[in-house]
């Protein structure tokens, strides 16, 4: 068990990275608290797996350090770091039985027979595999194999962190939910640090206490699911999380007042300090409503999404999406929109104006 600190990590797959784009990880500083449930969320190719492989020791970072508690483990091999990892495609040792698979990490470390047997049976109970211990691992279904991969991590008592690299990719949809809640339950029982990599926001938000959102090799925000939804620090977070994502509308600022088209818009943050190339207003569709007087707009499209409808409007020559509850009437023509001030924010070059950037560590 340990607190994991990533200190100024940078990684490139090239020999001599020059341009910004050559870095798979631009610079990452995160502290993962002992026993936390974290998700690492981001689109494909954003550097999630690279970061994970650096923590597990499968990859050596180009620059920076990794600390487990206060020990520098940057140069350590995976087996010296006492970590466990569950991969996207289930890894089981085909020729072994379920029991032998679970015992394998212990046998490799020379743990005695009695202890091994005890641990294997405990873990088999954890992952509901007790009745299948003598079966060949090869014959299991994908979710069974994934449980075995997880079990091989749990069986060791010295594990600092268990990492999951999109572990539900090959699992049938109806089993995904079950396995996910199983993981959550498991975390509460064993209180091990878990890092869950995914590009699926539902998986991330349901599993994790803290979500680390990554984009193009950097961490853009670390926060609770509520933080990410209500206070996105970056337009990418606003857009990536939520369905549909946040409206991001180019705007102008004059004398501390934000203008969308020709109309002033009240924002929650202090617009006075706004500087930078591109200024944008960010507002989630949930916080846009029809009003008596506001920004003039017209309705383009209404699509039904079950409990609510997604209304697409044009306002100041831009597309503004809003969520309207079932039963609320949608005005036919010449509508006016109002933005909820507390949830309207000004962003400069993608980052929230006056925000505290990435929010430090993942405390």
């Amino acid at each position: 068990m340990a607190r994991i600190t990533l200190d100024k990590l940078r990684h490139s797959y090239m020999e001599t990275p020059a341009a910004d784009a050559d870095w798979a990880l631009k610079q990452v500083d995160i502290t993962w608290d002992d026993g936390g449930a974290y998700a690492l969320l981001g689109p494909s190719g954003c550097g999630k797996t690279t970061l994970l492989n650096i923590i597990s020791g499968l990859l050596r970072p180009s620059q920076g350090r990794i600390l487990f508690d206060d020990r520098d483990v940057t140069a350590f091999a995976p087996d010296q770091r006492h970590i466990a990892q569950v991969f996207q495609f289930p890894v089981v040792y085909d020729t072994m039985t379920v029991y032998e698979n679970l015992a394998f990490p212990l046998r490799n470390r020379g743990v005695d027979k009695a202890t091994t047997d005890k641990r294997v049976r405990e873990v088999a109970d954890f992952i509901d595999m007790t009745h299948r211990l003598d079966e060949r691992a090869k014959g299991l279904t994908a979710d069974g194999k994934q449980k075995i991969s997880l079990g091989r991590g749990l069986v060791r008592t010295d594990v600092n962190v268990i990492m999951f690299d999109e572990p539900l990719t090959v699992i049938d949809p109806h089993l995904k939910w079950e396995l996910r809640s199983k993981l959550k339950e498991l975390h509460q029982r064993v209180r091990l640090t878990m890092i869950y990599v995914t590009h699926d926001q539902t998986e991330a938000l349901t599993f994790a206490d803290k979500v680390v959102v990554m984009n193009e090799g950097e961490v853009v925000q670390i926060g609770t699911p509520v933080d990410l939804f209500e206070r996105p620090q970056h337009t990418f977070v606003g857009h990536f999380i939520g369905s549909p994502g946040m409206n991001v509308l180019p705007c102008t600022v004059d004398n501390g007042t934000v203008y969308l088209g020709g109309d002033a818009v009240a924002v929650a943050n202090d617009a006075a300090g706004a500087a930078g190339g591109s200024l944008e207003i960010g507002i989630r569709p949930e916080f846009v409503r029809f009003a008596e007087s506001g920004l003039p707009a017209h309705v383009v499209k209404v699509s039904d999404a079950g409990r609510h409808r997604i209304v697409e409007t044009r306002c100041a020559d831009q597309t503004v999406r809003m969520l309207i509850a079932e039963g609320v009437e949608i005005p036919a023509d010449g509508v006016q929109l109002a933005f909820d001030r507390a949830n309207t924010r000004l962003y400069a070059d993608g980052w929230m104006v006056g925000g505290n950037s990435v929010a430090g560590g993942a405390q």
Binding site: D79, Q85, F87, Y93, D94, T95, F104, N108, G139, G153
Partner: protein, 287 residues
């Protein structure tokens, strides 16, 4: 529903039947035909029953060449399979050297068999060949045309040179199909190099290795060209393998009956041993 009987349907099978008859059944039946008849020339034949079969099975000559054949086949299998796997394990899995290695490995397989035999014959000549001359210069008394041990050494070395590549390529194909995650998981599980080989690489190579062993078994059991060009079965009869002996009987002595009986026995041995190999190696597959 009543099925209508239409015998004309047989016509559709006829072309295939004719083709198979000409390329397999008729030649094979000719051999069977010879194997149960006796002739004194003049194209007259007499029924002789299983005479030739009992004669071949009891002849010391056949026993000797069968034993030589077994020694040859199992020696080359014992060398080529482990060596091929070992070479495949050391080959790079990624990078610019992959095609270079593959081409180098494939080269011996592209050389015609009689050329391989001729090459090695000259290569091993004690007076002018690099191998023969070199060994003698180093103080070994090496002469593959006169000494039985040297003849066998050269014969097996030639086959290893010629055919290990096949095992390497097949084993390599099995190795590169293993996803990286297996190696990563093994590292995390603390597995050493031997455990990785035993529990990941070997099981994943099993199918291709089965094919490799079967191919090498069948091919080496039927080896003729290279061996006959290299040693001609000599010195004496010391390297006369089954196929060489068969040709001597059939074409050298023109003993059609015994040669035909021997062909059939030869064929049945290969068939039976292939079946045994396959069954043994696939025994655990079903479960």
């Amino acid at each position: 529903m009543n099925k209508t009987v239409n015998q004309k349907a047989w016509l559709f099978v006829l072309p295939v039947f004719i083709l198979v008859a000409f390329n397999a059944i008729i030649p094979l039946m000719t051999v069977v035909n010879y194997s149960v008849q006796e002739t004194f020339g003049d194209n007259t034949f007499f029924w002789s029953g299983v005479l030739w079969f009992t004669e071949v099975l009891q002849s010391e000559r056949f026993h000797d060449s069968l034993v030589r054949q077994m020694i040859f086949t199992f020696s080359i299998l014992a060398i080529e399979v482990p060596l091929g796997v070992a070479i495949a394990l050391t080959m790079p899995r990624k990078g610019p050297w992959v095609p270079v290695c593959l081409v180098l490995m494939a080269l011996p397989l592209l050389i015609p068999w009689n050329v391989v035999g001729a090459m090695w014959n000259i290569f091993a000549l004690p007076d002018i060949g690099l191998l023969g001359y070199g060994l003698n210069a180093l103080g070994f008394d090496y002469n593959f045309t006169r000494q039985i041990g040297d003849a066998w050494f050269t014969l097996i070395l030639m086959d290893v040179w010629h055919w290990t590549s096949l095992v390497v390529l097949l084993a390599y194909a099995g190795l590169v199909s293993i996803p990286d995650a297996y190696y990563q998981a093994a590292k995390i599980d603390g597995a050493g190099a031997f455990a990785i080989f035993r529990y990941i690489q070997l099981p994943k190579m099993k199918r291709v290795l089965t094919i490799a062993v079967l191919l090498r078994f069948m091919d080496s059991f039927m080896v003729y060209t290279e061996a006959v060009v290299l040693t001609g079965g000599g010195p004496g009869n010391s390297t006369t393998l089954l196929s060489i002996d068969l040709v001597k009987i059939a074409l050298g002595q023109f003993d059609l009956g015994p040669a035909a009986a021997m062909s059939i026995i030869y064929f049945l041995i290969i068939l039976a041993l292939s079946w045994v190999f396959y069954t043994l190696m696939m025994r655990n597959e079903e479960s």
